[in-house]
């Protein structure tokens, strides 16, 4: 540790603005870092947008029509995307490149912008979905939208965080918002139960995560990822295997990430919470929350701890394999469609973990592509579940889908496409998502993982097939119980479904643009520039 301190003391003038000077007794000068507002704009738009909505809606509660919330939320998220575009251009510019803002607390690179856009897309789709849902369930007020925007800001901060403490703040902003969102449908006890379970377990795992940060801080002398990386990479630095603190930090950070992305064995919350939460919130959790979690995981492990990938890769390997198999296997034995997709999202997390495990640029790009494709597939799928859930959000059994193809062929067709995409059938986005991840594993000569991933894809295919069959099979029992009514599809939800479905199919035919973007969105650890 003394060696570390000695080195840090020499480390001052190489462009890092984080004050590294040891505290002197007496006068302490705190340098005010320069703040690049442009870099913060996407986050600020989301945060300020959320707070503004809360304020306005509180002041003029009864004068604001419900649909205005939706449009406002969509506009704010779209604004954040638009604010991110000039940043993308700047980052991709060969001369200027990625940079970090606020004294290295936030990194602005293609990676963070890509994830920001994914999360905002998730917000837009979820908001569209929530519009009709709130009306149907008679839940008043703008709270869901406010929380949606705040949670999104947490996710984008997670994706951009260049400092473990900032990362933790982003994670908590995201998580706490989502705890409340999960419990939003307070008249349904399952919703409360979902919120409570998520909260207890989330806080529990956050504590582990935080402890991990503390250990890494203790071992490396900084919470800033650039400096941690430099410390690990420096030739005079410790050999990792001698450093118990750092290794313990790895373990605990992985627990936190594993929980957030619902990787087995930290997955137990996911099915219950996904099932109990209001379905649009479930869609948000499966898409944006997962994207934020994986973004942070990629940045911390693949990038910051990349030099010691040999030490953490076996653990991520185990997490990936367990998630793939347990997720697929448990999904099959369910009868509740919402719960099925919850388990299947665990299997999907396993696939993305494959991209993390290979710890190459190709793997990162594959994981990013997967996240982008999965966002649309999963929000679309949960959109169908939202609609079919009917008033009370309770009709999620497989039997509720029986004969759907006959009653509402278009809805059933759209769901079929989305399920096929989740299964990874060619000409859907899901095929290329799985394809890229597996080929990244193959290129990294990690054949066993590639094979397990493919096997689990086959197992999971049964699950999607099961849902499809029940939609297209009509049974005699229906004639006895009487024809259920058609479920109404609200306009906004219809738009969300349409967008999700079209994007899923278009990416399936023309994956090139997204692939290029994902390849350009390489994460960087950059010093203040």
């Amino acid at each position: 540790m003394i060696g570390v301190l000695a080195r840090l003391a020499q480390d001052t003038g190489d462009g890092i603005l984080v004050p590294a000077e040891p505290i002197q007794a007496g006068v302490t000068q705190i340098a005010t870092p320069e703040i690049q507002w442009v870099a913060l704009l996407p986050h600020l738009i989301l945060v300020v947008g959320g707070i503004l909505l809360l304020t306005i809606a509180s002041l003029f509660r009864h004068r604001v029509p419900r649909w205005a919330y939706t449009i406002y939320t969509v506009a704010v998220a779209a604004g954040a995307i638009i604010a991110a575009l000039p940043l993308w251009v700047r980052v991709q510019d060969a001369e200027r490149g990625p940079f970090s803002a606020i004294a290295g607390a936030l990194g602005v690179d293609g990676f963070s912008i890509f994830i920001t856009v994914i999360i905002c897309a998730g917000v837009i789709l979820t908001a569209l979905l929530a519009d009709g849902y709130l009306k149907r369930e008679g839940i008043d007020g703008p709270e869901l939208f406010v929380l949606l925007l705040l949670a999104a800001s947490g996710g984008t901060i997670m994706a951009s965080a260049n400092d473990l403490i900032v990362l933790f703040l982003g994670l908590e902003i995201l998580s706490i918002s989502v705890y409340v969102m999960a419990a939003m449908h307070a008249r349904r006890f399952t919703s409360l139960e979902a919120g409570m379970k998520y909260f207890i377990l989330g806080a529990f795992s956050s504590a582990f995560f935080l402890y991990g940060i503390a250990l890494v801080y203790g071992a490396s002398g900084s919470t800033n990822m650039i400096r941690i990386n430099q410390y690990l990479a420096s030739p005079t630095g410790v050999v990792l295997s001698e450093n118990g603190l750092l290794l313990g930090g790895f373990a605990l950070l992985l627990v936190g990430f594993g929980f957030k992305v619902a990787a087995v064995p930290f997955h137990a919350w996911a099915p219950d919470v996904y099932q109990g939460a209001p379905t649009p919130v479930t869609a948000f959790m499966a898409s944006a929350v997962k994207a934020g979690g994986f973004a942070a995981m990629l940045r911390v492990f693949v990038l910051t701890f990349g030099t010691f990938s040999g030490d953490w890769q076996p653990v991520v390997f185990a997490l990936a394999v367990l998630s793939l198999l347990v997720g697929s296997v448990l999904a099959i034995v369910q009868t509740n469609v919402k719960r099925m997709l919850a388990y299947s999202s665990i299997a999907h997390a396993g696939f993305i973990l494959v991209g993390v495990e290979v710890a190459t640029e190709q793997g990162t790009a594959a994981a990013l592509f997967y996240l982008a494709a999965y966002t649309f597939m999963v929000v679309g799928s949960f959109a169908v579940i939202t609609v079919v859930g009917r008033k009370g959000d309770g009709h999620h059994e497989l039997s509720d889908y029986r004969g759907l193809a006959r009653r509402q062929p278009v809805l059933a067709f759209v769901f079929t496409i989305l399920l096929l995409a989740q299964a990874g059938v060619p000409f859907t986005a899901g095929f290329f998502a799985k394809f890229y991840v597996i080929s990244a594993a193959v290129d990294a000569e990690n054949y066993s993982l590639a094979i397990i991933a493919m096997v689990s894809a086959v197992i999971a295919a049964f699950l999607y097939l099961r849902i499809m069959i029940s939609m297209y099979m009509s049974t005699d029992s229906e004639a006895v119980t009487g024809e259920p009514d058609r479920v109404p599809v609200p306009l906004a939800a219809g738009i969300a479904l349409f967008v999700a479905c079209v994007v899923t199919v278009v990416i399936g035919f023309v994956p090139g643009p997204i692939t290029d973007l994902a390849n350009d969105a390489v994460p960087f650890l950059v010093q203040v520039g």
Partner: protein
């Protein structure tokens, strides 16, 4: 002008998408008109591309258009690109041309069906897939089209499917085609590993540079031939095609006569540079082709279902095309494919018109004398009959003659091939004449008391159930219920106009490739950049062969006339004996091909049920059991979940602690 090639598949795709979105709202007949208009537009685009290509000098008649990169992983890049060359444009011309006519015909045929717009959705999707298959510039994209047409074919066969029996038929088609697909995939894979590309132009270049060894070429040729036997219904994979006749008749005409089943022939012509290097694979192709032609023709003699006759006839004619390919006469194969598309589509549509007029009866034994009721259908059907029978100067004569001539000139066993081919031509003329006589001439048999008794079970014709006709629905005895004073009616103009067009084409189709002078062999010259030139004997020899073929055709027609006309005159003695002889052939060949074939499928089913399903069920059971076991861990108690998190944390910590080396 070649730049417009992307429009050719795009228009049917646009039609498909529009119909998916608005089809139900457009309803009948607007949806049909939209689909037909898209096909017509596609045809127009093809003509434009054709004209553009035609104006180029012969060596420049290749145009590739790369649309976008589809899959790009290191070292393996597949682009979605279109290849317009004489071969693909020829295919596209008749696919879109015949397709447009059949779409138009379908508007009349599908009148009143409750799934009217759905039918056209499938039809446009089919046309799109077929055009992708034809215009693709690499094997993978062709395979996409290959699977696409297969899928559409199943969808359309099952269009009226309501009962278990038809589902079995669909399964049969599925299994046989999958077997063929294995050949396609393996062939593609072998090519890829050999020359590192699956692009057609690269394949041609590799063959010119002699990068493919003879043995490899033979293997590739055989693998693609397996693929072709599946799609083009050749021995031993032909059994699915007759069953596919359960679909609506325009589907039979478009998919199971003119276009999709020709895909196998197209594929082999496309691979002709490789085939040229493949030594004995060509003999296999020629012999399988000619035997299929012969076997299918003999089966056709014994069929009573108007569409089944045409189905076996299609198999037989496709056999001729394979014979041509095997003997190296690729242009002749294409020529016969084009003329066959004309006259077989014509015959199928004519049959559809008859079925329509007969209120959805398909059994020829209750027909007869329809020439009085359906004059236009009769005349056009007669044209198709003369064309397929090989009577000069109808188109079928020229193309079949060319194939026989090339068989005659084939090095190994050419004479034997020629004799079998000639005998097949005789049988062809015979069974087609039999059909014409049974359907259009003689007495109207639906007025006979004998025909009005309950029909035997073999008359599966009534299984076809066009929507809207509640009375005939799934009623095997429906045949007999046709009132004795029933008056068959001529079909609406949407149906007869395509018949007239196609009959004109069937008459003059022969001018595409006349044998007299080198300059007159238009199709062969046009295709020459793609297919290798082929010499087939000298002038005098050709005349002799042509005369023999003509004589054979006339003998076939004559004998059928004598037998079947006399059968009507001299009643039961001759009729029964010859009839049973017909059945004898059918039984013999259904034993010869169908029975071992069925046993083969039984074996496959056994294998499927016991081994595959057993393994699958075993795995599924394992998955389910482990799922159930794991489920019990998901107790619902938040404290247990927390315990799980803590347990995982401890495991991770333990792992990392073991990594510490002090």
């Amino acid at each position: 002008m070649e730049e417009l090639v992307w429009l050719i598949p795009t228009l049917p795709l646009a039609g498909f998408l529009l119909l998916v979105a608005f089809g139900r709202r457009m309803g009948e007949p607007a949806a049909g008109w939209l689909a037909s208009a898209m096909m017509a537009g596609s045809f127009a685009a093809t003509v434009v591309v054709f004209a553009g290509l035609f104006n180029e000098p012969e060596s420049h008649r290749i145009f590739t258009q790369s649309l976008f990169t589809w899959i790009a992983v290191d070292g393996f890049e597949v682009s979605v690109g279109l290849l317009a060359d004489p071969l693909s444009i020829t295919m596209a011309l008749f696919v879109t041309g015949v397709g447009a006519l059949i779409h138009l015909y379908s508007i009349g045929y599908m009148h009143g069906d409750k799934d009217f717009s759905k039918f056209f959705i499938y039809m446009n999707l089919f046309a799109f897939s077929m055009l992708v298959l034809v215009l693709a510039d690499n094997l993978l994209l062709t395979f996409v089209g290959w699977e696409g047409v297969g899928t559409c074919s199943y969808l359309l066969i099952s269009f009226w499917f309501t009962d278990e029996q038809n589902a079995v038929a669909g399964k049969k088609a599925f299994v046989t085609n999958r077997l063929g697909d294995v050949g396609f995939m393996l062939g593609t894979f072998v090519l890829w590993t050999t020359i590192g590309s699956i692009n057609y132009l690269d394949i041609d270049a590799a063959v010119s540079a002699e990068l493919i060894a003879g043995v490899t070429a033979t293997a590739i040729a055989l693998l693609f031939f397996i693929a072709a036997t599946g799609k083009s219904a050749q021995i031993p994979l032909f059994v699915w095609l007759p069953d596919a006749m359960a679909g609506p008749t325009p589907v039979s005409a478009l998919i199971h006569a003119a276009t999709m089943v020709a895909a196998g022939v197209f594929l082999l012509v496309r691979m002709s540079p490789v085939l040229h290097e493949a030594a004995w694979a060509n003999d296999v192709i020629a012999w399988v082709g000619v035997i299929t032609a012969f076997v299918a023709a003999t089966i056709a003699v014994a069929q009573n279902d108007i569409k089944k006759v045409l189905a076996f006839s299609t198999i037989s004619q496709l056999g001729y095309m394979f014979l041509a390919i095997g003997t190296g006469a690729y242009a002749a194969a294409m020529f016969h494919m084009v003329t066959h598309a004309f006259f077989k589509a014509l015959l199928f549509l004519g049959a559809g018109s008859v079925i329509h007029g007969m209120d959805d009866r398909q059994d020829m034994r209750v027909m007869g004398g329809l020439s009085k009721f359906m004059p236009l259908t009769t005349i056009t059907f007669l044209v198709g009959w003369l064309a397929i029978a090989g009577v000069p100067p109808f188109s079928g004569f020229w193309s079949k003659d060319e194939i026989l001539a090339s068989a005659w000139a084939f090095d190994s066993g050419g004479a034997a091939l020629w004799v079998i081919g000639l005998v097949t031509a005789l049988i062809t003329a015979f069974y087609m004449s039999r059909q014409v006589i049974m359907v259009f001439y003689g007495r109207p048999h639906w007025r006979d008391e004998t025909a009005r008794t309950p029909a035997p079970a073999s008359l599966s014709a009534a299984a076809e159930n066009p929507g809207g006709d509640g009375e005939a629905e799934l009623d095997v005895d429906g045949l007999a219920r046709l009132p004795a004073d029933y008056q068959p009616h001529e079909s609406p103009w949407q149906m007869t106009v395509p018949l007239v067009f196609l009959s004109l084409l069937a008459v003059v189709g022969g001018v595409l490739n006349l044998p007299f002078l080198e300059e007159l062999a238009l199709l062969e010259n046009w295709l020459e950049p793609v297919t290798l030139p082929h010499e087939a004997g000298s002038g005098a020899e050709l005349w002799a062969l042509a005369s023999a073929a003509t004589a054979i055709a006339l003998i076939g027609i004559g004998s059928a006339t004598v037998i079947y006309q006399r059968r009507r005159v001299s009643r039961e003695l001759v009729e029964r004996r010859l009839f049973s002889k017909g059945w004898y052939v059918d039984i013999f060949y259904s034993w010869f091909t169908g029975h071992p074939g069925r046993r083969f499928f039984d074996a496959i089913r056994w294998f499927d049920e016991k081994v595959i399903d057993g393994a699958a069920n075993g795995v599924a059971g394992l998955v389910r059991r482990s799922g159930t076991a794991l489920r019990s861990l998901q107790t619902g108690y938040v404290r247990n979940y927390a315990l799980g998190v803590a347990f995982g944390t401890v495991l991770l910590l333990v792992y990392f602690i073991t990594r510490i080396q002090v």
